[in-house]
């Protein structure tokens, strides 16, 4: 950390900062300039946080210079990680395609959507049983019945399942049925849920909060990691901005930024970012181009009857176009198709 003293700071002000830092075992390097003094701190940064240096007389500003996250940081773990979901890899060597219905509505609809997804090349099935909805009057999901349907459809199609858990009290039952737990955008800072997911023994798909900075998002991942679970896949799904043309603004730059800062895999959700079907294919191609480790996409056999987010679900020609992109583009950028790698490994 770096402490910047105000122009009028006295020698006593400076001495007080040094004293506090040394009192917790740190070292303080004082550089006196013509108009300002700068103090560099070396030692355990956590102990410095409790000093409240910013509130001391004569202190103008305090800058932090180390990553605030540790377990998920790439600083001490330079190789990017691969997370395995029931035999399917997500990581730097592959491009993983996940698809399925936004919400599980029935066995038939879920099976049909899963078959569409699989035919298009998806290797992991997504689907919502517990739905967080802005309105209490909107469809809230089928709950445990939805989990059972997902598990059945997963078994029937041979696809591992990822589904959202919205409440710490539901983690056990979701972990029982699913191969991967999704934490949604609205729970980006629901720390009890993050910790419970960290304890559940299953990989976690951690969506970015629609208003989380990248640093806050990695701190949320750190909450999961701190419980001993490093099987975390990050998912960029758009942030809240002033632009109304899309539901959220897909922060495509987050992909290389995260890949430089963290060893965790990162995928993209173009469906929820855009909220508009016609943008899903171009944004999926952008995700492949930028170097994402995969995508997760809404598909629905009958979007006009969907109980949730019908306008963004793919079908028909759009899905075929996406399937073609997923088959051809990642290879050009040096990635194997996750479905083929899976087969080789199996």
């Amino acid at each position: 950390m770096v402490v910047v003293m105000a122009p009028g700071a006295t020698d006593e002000d400076i001495a007080r900062v040094v004293e506090r830092v040394e009192a917790v075992g740190g070292e303080a390097f004082v550089s006196k300039g013509l108009t300002r003094t700068i103090i560099g701190l070396v030692g355990d940064i956590d102990s410095f946080h409790h000093l409240n240096l910013r509130t001391l007389a004569g202190v103008a500003d305090v800058h932090r210079i180390s990553d605030p996250y540790k377990l998920v940081s790439r600083q001490h773990h330079p190789d990017r990680s691969t997370v395995w979901v029931d035999g399917v890899p997500i990581g730097p060597q592959t491009f993983t395609f996940m698809a399925g219905p936004c919400a599980v509505e029935s066995s038939e609809q879920t099976l049909e959507a899963a078959q569409m997804a699989k035919a298009a090349g998806a290797t992991i099935l997504r689907g919502g049983a517990f739905k967080p909805r802005t309105s209490p009057y909107a469809f809230q999901g089928l709950g445990v019945r939805g989990l059972e349907i997902l598990a059945e459809v997963g078994a029937a199609t041979g696809l591992p399942i990822v589904t959202e858990v919205v409440d710490a009290r539901d983690v056990a039952v979701v972990a029982e049925h699913a191969d991967m737990l999704q934490i949604g955008t609205r729970n980006a800072q629901n720390f009890g849920l993050l910790q419970a997911a960290g304890d559940a023994g299953k990989p976690v798909l951690l969506k970015r909060g629609f208003s989380s900075t990248i640093e806050e998002w990695l701190m949320a991942a750190e909450y999961v990691a701190q419980r001993g679970n490093l099987d975390i896949v990050l998912c960029e799904r758009g942030i809240r901005t002033f632009e109304p043309a899309t539901r959220n603004t897909l922060d495509i730059s987050a992909v290389p930024v995260v890949q430089a800062a963290s060893h965790l895999p990162i995928i993209v959700d173009p469906s929820h970012a855009a909220g508009r079907r016609e943008l899903v294919v171009p944004l999926s191609r952008a995700a492949i181009g930028v170097g994402a480790d995969g995508i997760i996409v809404d598909v629905h056999p009958h979007p006009e009857d969907a109980l949730c987010d019908g306008p963004q679900a793919l079908l028909g020609s759009d899905l075929r176009e996406l399937a073609a992109a997923v088959r051809t583009m990642p290879g050009l950028l040096g990635r194997a198709d996750a479905s083929r790698l899976t087969k080789v490994l199996a």
Copy 2:
């Protein structure tokens, strides 16, 4: 709702919309223009949501025109409500001053802060026992021991207690010790927690999510209200914007906007919005000026030792200046000092 058809929509497209609306018991009024047709819908808006009209052929756009929240709306409840917290009113006739430490650290610190708050005119004591922190390595609060301290200090000073609950599993124990449950900004869409708070039988202080629109915030209140609890006080505490000079941007306009849309009381938290002590007094005066029903402010006897948010805690001359503003300004705008009204009522 209003359905706007695309320029090239056919008569069949239009008929399909009408048919769907009538199938769920609604009425559809078709207005054919030169280039576009507009269809106005009358009936139960919830049933229309399930129709996914936006996905039908020929439909260009769908506009909603009714409030999506009902119980907290002012449409059917024109008089603004007063919420009572253990005998202290929060509502349109009073100006209520809540204060206390950001985090409960010890009996002594909490008692000292409560005495500072009371001496300054505060009639409700705030204090955090469960702290939601961005970093898993930051101080997370004293938990149940913190609740006990708060209850003791509340009893000793005669001040009702408001404290945050961050996990649905903790609602019962928090409700046992506190007079009012606070839902924090990071849990603005933690729907299980909102429902649990609605079931707890205590008034709820619902902070705005730092990225919630006013409409989403009122929908969150609707989740609490739907459980039969209308004792909800809203709290504007700043939103996330591009401006780095303050921690968040206090959306002062939200106060009159909410007062026009909802009957619920609304207060302002200038401490967390600004994150800087020197802004708390001017922003508190702005809150009084704009017509807020109260404020909630961080105070700490020794901010330089605070385990949480020390840089924004008031003390000494700032607190005296705030006390003077709270004593003198609301009366000019036609409000009684809540502390006086409380005494009269007691």
Copy 3:
């Protein structure tokens, strides 16, 4: 400035930074820590900017610690300034009320609006002759004819005139007719216009860009000041955020933040921030409460016929309520009514 070296920086990397800094006459203080080295720079900050230290090998980050603006900064000019507009003060001792129609439409409408404004206590008349409009198909203002009307109405009512200039080529003609030049929100970084306004010999009302940070805004003021014109009044008028309930989000905190950073006066425009008439009075009261040096408000004798921003123009009972607030509230906060002070001085 502070240069933070990367963990793996070599001694040569460090030596190269020091060498470059010394080559331009600066001093570099090196603090070697366990994992990182920090270099504090002392000297002429402008010369350091050209060094591009951030691009050197081994450099992780560079922090700037001095204000980037100089002439408008309060660092070397601790007393807050008062700007006089044809005998009317705007500054820390007064509260100045400016009002008038958004756009000048005719002599009659402008005179009527000016009389409304004056009757309500306004001491400066605002009105737009050149209108920057998002659409080329919207009313663009009366141009020079509008300036003539303003000047006539100003003379008839005895009110100084402030009006917007949108193009550097119009500065001369606007300065000929107006007592104060307004730079609007869309021209916040139109540097040629800022410089031309700085050369014009009239006070400047500099609105904040709706997406300018406070620092960028003060840098824009620095462009005016650099031409020798320090008669600058800043105007907070709302920033662009995700909240759709208001046209922009009034950043009320900007008032005390600017007052701490700059000696220039700052006023608030509640009409353009909100875009809704019913919010103008509460936001004006908030502006007084927060300590603004004045407000500028749209009034119109017949808002339903206004060619520009009719929905936000005040009239009738709202204007009377505002007049009462402007008469009574500033005095409580230690400010004289600018209209009275003007009379005393005259």
Copy 4:
């Protein structure tokens, strides 16, 4: 347009709306519902704007349903346009690579950068002679001398030139030297400059304002188009959001959104969006993937000496990697390399 009446609107309120609409030659279709009445308007939308319907008694809201831009809209011009810059096409059939130094500093540096750009496959040379800078103390560009250097280097390398014009008074001299005029992000709503550029007889590269919505951006293009110049290329260069990891947030979704709404070509500037060299190649690949019509990238022979934006300029291996992507990827998505097409046509 659709007028939504308030629940309590009277028959007279409704009649007044109808009367006003008919008075300007429009038709009004009234749909009376149980709780609300909706009025659909058909006719000349511009005439409706002057009615200020929103301010009439009983009116709750007014929705616009037509595109506010006309000449640049795709509604009446379904085929996407190609703009030619001195023989180089930018449009749906090609992928055009523009590169060059952020600022022209000298003949040598500009020539060296142009040769780097050309060797990497660029077919248009970018370079700044007039630089809009946030600080008046930063390098402002070489002005006319910079234009001369650009023209010489363009002639020497055979590359057409695009350069920014920041002031309407400079349009003539810039148009004399350059093949394409760039309007920068800070001038997104400098309407006088947009009109002057529209009059200049050269193609225009219109960058998105960093806080412009897509609709506002297309309205800015409409200002250029209205002067009879439809040779406009749009450039997405990042928007201002809360995320600090990148200088701006590249709104990659804007590419397909604009392509659906307007017939104008659209390219991407990854250098200014990211502000970080290591993100330029991944973001360029994302731009190709999403279907952009080209990119514009900063290159500099010696970034560590650059007078402007050195940290984002490409060189060496990064530039070779970008060249490879530009050569191979667009073809897979059905586009010709603009450089090859140019040769064929020449």
